[in-house]
Structures are given as C-alpha cells and as structure tokens.
C-alpha cells in the first residue's frame, strides 16, 4: 500500500521515470528492465582463492566465469605488500589471507600519485579493478583503492602540489563556502570531505593568489 503523501499533484515528481504510485496494481513489465542492464558488467567481490581456482579450471583465461557470471570487474580487500613505485605506474601484491595477487595502478593524473603515495606496505585496502590475464598469470589493473582512513593527508596534498599547507586549507575553505565540496571532517591529520572524494587538479599562478583547486566529484560507496 503506497503512502498517501504521494497524491496526484506529486505525480509530476515521478515524471522522469521510476516508480509510479498510481500504477501500484500493475506488476513491473519486462520492458521496464532493459535487457541491456542484465548483461552489464558486474562488480564481483572475490577472494584471491576464488580467482585462482577459476583461473586454473578455465579453458578461456580471458573470459573466466565464476558462479555463472563473467568475471570482469572485481573488488578485493587485503594487505598491500611489495609496493614498487615507478614513474608511470605502481605495482604491489595484495594479500587477502587466501592468496596473493599482483596488482598494478597506472598513474595518469596527479591525484593518482597522491593516492598511491599514501599507501604503504602492511596497509589494508579495498580496491576495485579489472582482472587481466597475461603470459599465464592474472593481475589486477586497479581503478581505485582506499584505506580504512579514507581521504588523503592534507600535508601530502600540499607537498605534492608544492603549495604551503595554509594556502591549501584556505582554498579548501573557499571551496566549501562556494558549495563545491562538502564540509570537511577532520580525522587527525587526514580529511574526508563529506562523501566526495576530492579529485584535485590545480593551477597555481602566484603565491598571493588563491590557488585554484578544482574538484571533480566521484562517488565512494
């Protein structure tokens, strides 16, 4: 039974699609769910043991199936080991207690370097990435990873950008006042800016001028 707070005047609120309370008696018809969505790539939480077993029992290593689902994007939780930073990418091994798998994170933007600089051996991370088979072994091409302490230490951002910490904090304060980012929650010396992961790109013209830090929001789950 639908709540009576949705009367006919509010029907326009649903005009863009979604559930129509007045059609409560109709079941969802099959065209409501586009068949394209069913075949969309899924994100699979896996253990490394699961990946290893599937790899060994799979004839077609580039199209593995686990539990009836094509394995493309995966999410893993584990400890970072043997981190090796190179110019274009960072390689490490993820150990989740069931096994170890090699991971690779390409450094395409400044924010990638900042993110990876905050990661060190022994840290627990959750990562999202794509499984790739190459020369008989699997690696994870990492899209994103985060630690339990979300966010990046502000000193690290300031150092990477080459600007003084107080100028960085002033810029962040300005962005908060402009409504571009949400209120910061201080966690010791690292900041988690609301539910927006700060993607920092910058141009610093002069020390006197406010450093312009743009924010491109991405959604953390």
């Amino acid at each position: 039974m639908h709540s009576s707070e949705f009367d006919d005047d509010d029907a326009a609120a649903f005009a863009g699609g979604g559930f129509m309370p007045s059609q409560a008696t109709q079941g969802p018809d099959s065209s409501f769910y586009s068949s394209k969505n069913r075949d969309a790539q899924v994100l699979l939480p896996l253990t490394i043991k699961q990946i290893s077993d599937a790899f060994q029992s799979s004839d077609d290593k580039s199209n593995m199936i686990i539990d009836g689902v094509d394995v493309t994007n995966v999410t893993l939780v584990g400890r970072v080991c043997n981190k090796a930073g190179r110019i274009t990418d960072v390689a490490f091994v993820l150990d989740d207690g069931t096994g170890r798998i090699e991971c690779n994170k390409w450094l395409q933007e400044a924010v990638d370097s900042i993110e990876m600089e905050g990661i060190s051996d022994g840290m627990y991370v959750r990562l999202h990435g794509h499984l790739k088979g190459f020369q008989g072994k699997m690696t994870v091409n990492v899209f994103s990873l985060r630690t339990r302490d979300e966010g990046v230490p502000r000193e690290l951002i300031a150092r990477q950008l080459g600007i003084p910490l107080d100028k960085l904090m002033l810029a962040i304060k300005n962005l908060i006042e402009e409504g571009a980012i949400y209120e910061a929650i201080g966690l010791g010396n690292s900041y988690r800016l609301g539910w927006v992961h700060v993607r920092v790109f910058y141009s610093v013209s002069q020390w006197e001028a406010r450093p312009k830090i743009g924010v491109r929001p991405s959604y953390s789950d």
């Binding site: 043991k49 077993d53 207690g97 069931t98 096994g99 170890r100 798998i101």
Partner: protein, 107 residues
Amino acid sequence: MDTSNPAVFVNAELLRLYVGRRVRAVMQVIRSDAGAVIGKSTDEKQIVVKGLPPPGPLTNFVEVIGIADSDKSIHAEIWTNFGDSIDTFSYNKLCQLANGEFKPLFL
C-alpha cells in the same frame, strides 16, 4: 597468483584445528605480559599471542597473523591495529563460515 600460504580465519575454537598452520585472528587486547599479549577471541575465550608487537600502542582490537603454536596461542608475525571497536559477532560468524560452508572460497 599464489595461494600456497593462506592465513586461516580463526577464533579460539577453530584455532585448535590449525596448530602448526598459518592463521589470522582478531582479538580484544586484555593485557600485556612479559613477551606475550593476552587477548580475548571473538568467541570470548582467552588467546595468548607471542612475538614482538610493532612499536607504538596497540588499539583495543588487534588482528594478528602468524603460526598457531598451540591450541591456545599464536606466534604472531604481523600485528594490525583494528581500532577501538569492531563487530565481533560478524567476525566470529565469518570465521565459522570461512571454515565451514564456504571453506573452498578461502582454503
């Protein structure tokens, strides 16, 4: 990929099944004695953890990874602070499921 050296999720009850093997356990730190930390497992029993803790204070809950050297003790190689509170019920359930119904996903 290398699955040759897993660390089994254990609580106190499961620890005895894996003596001599590599295990991981989350416990609440009760006190530190000479050379050992006494902890309470997620199934409310006492575990002794030997080995050298890392420098710095231990939080209330700690995960240790190491070799089970008896049915009541672990020789820890790796210690990780897990903070002041965790959901011990869920972790305990995880230990049971990872060694029972879903063991093939882990070992």
